[in-house]
Subunit: 233 residues, 2 copies
């Protein structure tokens, strides 16, 4: 029961509350959910442990931050859709784009010659105006067959690859890399340098199984958390 | 081609080499794999970027560490099998076990009363004698229906739950949490405190879908790396 109440509360907090907002009292919540005060207390303990709420002795319970988006790691989704379906107002900001030759190691991941020219696109996805996901896409320029304007780089990379490269991404393979925020990434995601971050190093493959683009993504754990469901029998 | 050569080299290094061992020269590797020197150079660049090898100017190429085990995040496997199939010699060390009441937050995750007594088991899995995975399992003692000896705690938790609790785990749900090593975990995994680590917070469910145990696992990125394959079409 407590787990269910915690889940409902998490959803309600995301939809109805702002950071710093005060929650109803335990007896009020117990009545609202039709459960015992003990169950409410357990549910609040879960949310407190997650950092979603703060309980101040004698002063009540407050929203510390709006709970993160939960996503199954093996499910590919657009970040904006993901954030929106988790109750956030999503935003996209194009930090920069430029052209750069691929390093030897990056080129090898795409089975291409070192120094292959590539388009590098840096984007930030925000949740309720706060930076949540920072993404660096690298697309070999030889794929680009039609002109584009910078606004188009704010759209999902899959749209760009389809419309300007005539490429369809069939699957991507991502390595999950625990990392800490460099000063540059810390600045972009508004976290202290050295904060733990989950990084995905992703290679996208076209319909014939050839690697066609690379992507590095940093996820702010307050906003996006990945999970996996593993079947044993 | 370079990606394929890197993959073969990674496998060969795990099987045949020790840390500090010297690799054959680029022309020798080119001949061995029947590829150009350029391809060998690209493959070595990939391994260098992964930290598997170190190239010392004028002195040759050396194994920096034996490449990590790769595992699809959504596949459940025994850690010992995982490490062995990646070419490591696996080991298990029981750090400690004790009985402890569940905190309010942990109890709520199992839908149990706070202070429910639990058995806490701390284990380290090693790869070629180096600590690679640190795991803390929590099993409510009310499940335990037959006596056990401490040696049995070194076996997979699933065996223990089956043999001493008559419980079968149908699936587990894990949250992927980027974290940094606390002094305690740093000491156990032989990493500097503050090193990035991937943590899995796992809840195990029985065949009727009830949560029955909790597990927290820390993975040393040098030995185990998770990946996901995401299909888009």
């Amino acid at each position: 029961m407590a787990a269910l109440v915690a889940k409902s509360l998490r959803r309600e907090l995301r939809r109805e509350y702002i950071v710093g907002g005060r929650l109803p009292s335990e007896p009020e919540l117990a009545e609202q959910y039709g459960v015992s005060r003990g169950t409410v207390r357990q549910a609040l303990a879960v949310l407190e442990r997650e950092g979603v709420i703060i309980r101040r002795q004698g002063a009540g319970t407050y929203v510390h931050y709006i709970s993160r988006a939960q996503i199954r790691a093996e499910h590919a989704r657009e970040y904006s859709d993901l954030l929106r379906s988790s109750g956030f107002e999503p935003g996209i900001h194009l930090n920069s784009f430029h052209f750069e030759p691929l390093s030897e190691a990056l080129a090898a991941q795409l089975d291409m010659e070192p120094q292959t020219p590539s388009l590098v696109v840096c984007k930030t996805f925000s949740a309720n105006g706060q930076p949540a996901i920072y993404c660096i896409d690298r697309i070999p320029t030889k794929w680009i067959i039609s002109e584009f304007v910078s606004e188009e780089l704010e759209r999902p990379i899959y749209d760009f690859l389809r419309d300007h490269c005539n490429l369809t991404i069939a699957h991507d393979f991502a390595e999950l890399i625990p990392t800490v925020a460099s000063p540059e990434v810390a600045d972009i995601l508004h976290v202290p340098p050295g904060s733990p971050l989950l990084r995905f190093d992703e290679t996208g493959y076209d319909v014939v199984g050839a690697p066609v683009y690379l992507s590095t993504t940093y996820y702010h754990d307050n906003f996006v958390r990945f999970s996996v469901l593993r079947k044993r029998i």
